[in-house]
């Protein structure tokens, strides 16, 4: 098991290297660079002067030199300076990465809390009214765009009822580390989390429901019943254990989807996370920030797949590699 995990981690290294090269080249291929972004439309900017700055910042060097420099610094935790924010990228990311991770993990847990029970109910009693209700919810959720739903949630629970705060990630008056600070953070998390989770359950419910319907007709379930196993145990020990596999396989992707896909929610709730920063940085051509962000989400995908593999290898003996 441990050798499998170590091997899986080693495989990640070339994947990440390749990813970094692609990202670097793609970022370079974008029209314009940090200088054009920073000085765009500024009548005082002198072309010669700009060229001088470019030279000084190494933006005229061949790509592999720039790449080598970037990667060397990157692995040491120095992701360069944001040209727009005039701040180190690492410190720019630090707080937001935490916020986004918090939001995505909260969203994911909520998704599982909603969809696993509903998927089980719908699958176990399929074609019942409960199943039809779950499937209806599923299709409505599938058809609802996240930005519309988030706005509705914001309007009802934030604006009209005023139950939860609607902007930011924490009350700025709360003292960092105090009890109020954590309460406030949790309160700020509620609406963004629910907005993402309530309509983000579709895949998990559908996978689980269909897999249960499939699995409960399998022969080994008959074997279990013929053994005299109580019906509840037939479900938990035999059917669910098999039906949870596709969800376990999907877990890693789900995490990365959430980390990279919270752009709308973060923008709507002005939640200071990576998604919001990403959109801003692209529009201001903040090259260093963009590459750092893409690199992080790419790494998240790779780590997520690895997580999926490891989880699967724990639950499914057939794919264990010794």
């Amino acid at each position: 098991m441990i050798t499998f995990i170590i091997r899986r981690i080693l495989v990640m290294i070339p994947q990440l290297l390749l990813l970094s090269i692609i990202i670097f080249l793609l970022a370079k291929a974008m029209p314009g660079d940090a200088i054009t972004g920073a000085f765009q439309g500024n009548p005082d900017a002198d072309a010669n002067h700009l060229e001088e700055i470019k030279e000084k910042m190494g933006l005229n060097d061949p790509w592999y030199q720039q790449y080598g420099r970037w990667l060397g610094n990157f692995v040491q935790g120095d992701m360069g300076m944001s040209y727009v924010h005039k701040q180190k990228v690492s410190s720019l990311l630090a707080g937001r990465l935490g916020n986004t991770l918090l939001l995505s993990i909260a969203t994911m847990i909520t998704i599982y809390l909603i969809s696993i029970p509903l998927g089980i109910i719908a699958g176990r009693w399929h074609n019942s009214w409960a199943d039809k209700l779950v499937v209806t919810y599923n299709y409505v959720a599938l058809a609802t765009p996240v930005f519309v739903f988030a706005l509705i949630m914001l309007f009802i629970f934030g604006f009209s009822l005023g139950w939860f705060p609607i902007t930011g990630s924490v009350d700025i008056r709360a003292e960092n580390g105090s009890w109020e600070y954590y309460i406030s953070k949790a309160k700020h998390l509620v609406l963004p989390t629910l907005s993402g989770a309530i309509i983000g359950t579709v895949g998990t419910i559908q996978y689980l429901r269909n897999d249960i319907i499939d699995t409960k007709l399998k022969d080994f379930v008959k074997t279990a019943r013929a053994k005299g196993v109580p019906e509840g145990r037939v479900y938990t020990r035999h059917i669910l254990r098999n039906s949870i596999l596709p969800i376990a396989a999907f877990l890693g992707y789900e995490i990365t989807l959430l980390i990279t896909g919270s752009v709308f929610i973060e923008s709507i709730y002005s939640y200071p996370g990576l998604g919001k920063l990403f959109i801003e940085s692209i529009s201001t051509r903040d090259f260093t920030v963009v590459s750092a962000l893409v690199m992080i989400s790419g790494a998240a995908v790779i780590v997520g797949t690895m997580l999926s593999d490891i989880i699967l290898s724990i639950v499914d003996p057939r794919i264990r590699i010794d």
């Binding site: 022969d219 008959k222 019943r225 013929a226 053994k227 005299g228 109580p230």
Partner: protein, 339 residues
């Protein structure tokens, strides 16, 4: 012959298709005694498996209607709650399934799967359960039982898996064993091995066995008594020697005549005309086999065919057996002499 283990009376199992219920098993009555092998033979779709699943209560409850009686240890199984039934299944009654490739949970170790029924029915410590499991594995002919114990189904071959399935069925020493075509999914050499194993186990135990098969060779080798089923009904029931030596019902005779043989007077294989009708199309009045022997006049059949005891312990349904003959041009019947 020992005590009666199972007594089925007028069992009818109907499945709902669309709005209506169609019986797949109709008016089946039979008895199984201790230490007796009752073979149930018939074509695919004649209701053999439906019968076995009715006995052990494995049909989907919502879409199945069960009528009649299945008396086992003084209780009618059809009337038992799921909970009470679960006290019997796996303990007093074991089932061997057709396809060992799918009958085992792919995610659980072999040992755990054999121990599962013990966990619910026998009060044993973990160490005792393991001991019993290893013993069982040895009994079903698995030599490296310690290794197999912690292996998973995908690491075993089909024959090995079927041995494990048998071990599961035997885990709590059942008094009745249902074997639903235990060798059909295996290749021929493995079939012989599994049949040998079943015979060997049968000789050691007092268990009554219901062996469902369409392989008449297996029947001749293993069974004490044979029930021939056609379209959901038993058409003939007799001791194995009697049935092979003096088959009476046209269906039984046709089946036996369809076995390829090396008799010099036969160079063509006998084929029974037509097919088994589907549940919805099946005519439920008159002799159900009549459409497949159209040259026999209708007057030979009973209007409502019932089972007749034509000789002691030899039962035949309908009266069409009396003057039955094969169609013109058909060569003579083989003698299947079983001693």
């Amino acid at each position: 012959m020992g005590n009666t283990v199972l007594e089925i009376e007028n069992l009818r199992t109907s499945f709902s298709i669309g709005e209506k219920y169609y019986p797949a098993v109709d008016d089946v009555s039979l008895k199984v005694h201790e230490n007796e092998v009752l073979a149930i033979v018939g074509e695919s779709g004649c209701g053999k498996s439906a019968l076995a699943l009715s006995i052990i209560g494995l049909h989907e409850q919502r879409t199945t209607r069960l009528e009649g009686q299945v008396n086992f240890k003084g209780q009618n199984l059809l009337k038992l709650s799921r909970k009470r039934l679960n006290k019997i299944r796996g303990k007093e009654m074991g089932m061997i399934f057709q396809d060992p490739m799918t009958a085992l949970n792919p995610l659980a170790a072999i040992g755990a799967q054999i121990e599962e029924p013990m966990k619910y029915h026998l009060k044993l410590s973990a160490a005792d359960m393991k001991k019993r499991t290893l013993e069982l594995l040895r009994r079903v002919g698995i030599k490296n039982e310690n290794r197999i114990y912690s292996q998973y189904p995908h690491e075993l071959s089909g024959g090995m898996r079927q041995r494990v399935v048998i071990a599961i069925a035997l885990a709590c020493d059942p008094v009745l064993l249902l074997a639903d075509e235990p060798t059909t999914a295996l290749d021929v050499t493995i079939q012989a091995q599994i049949m040998d194993l079943m015979k060997e186990l049968q000789a050691q135990m007092k268990t009554g066995i219901i062996l469902i098969t369409h392989d008449l060779g297996v029947v001749a080798e293993m069974a004490d008594k044979v029930a021939v089923m056609y379209a959901g009904q038993i058409v003939e029931l007799a001791e194995v020697n009697e049935l092979f030596n003096h088959p009476m019902h046209p269906y039984t005779r046709s089946l036996l005549n369809s076995i390829p043989s090396n008799m010099p007077n036969k160079d063509k294989l006998h084929v029974i005309q037509g097919i088994v009708p589907t549940l919805q199309k099946l005519e439920r009045t008159g002799c159900r086999f009549a459409p497949r022997i159209p040259w026999i006049p209708a007057s030979e059949h009973e209007e409502n065919p019932i089972i007749h005891e034509v000789k002691p312990n030899h039962f035949v349904r309908c009266t069409c057996y009396k003057n039955f003959h094969f169609e013109e041009g058909e060569l003579g019947e083989d003698d299947h002499v079983l001693t």
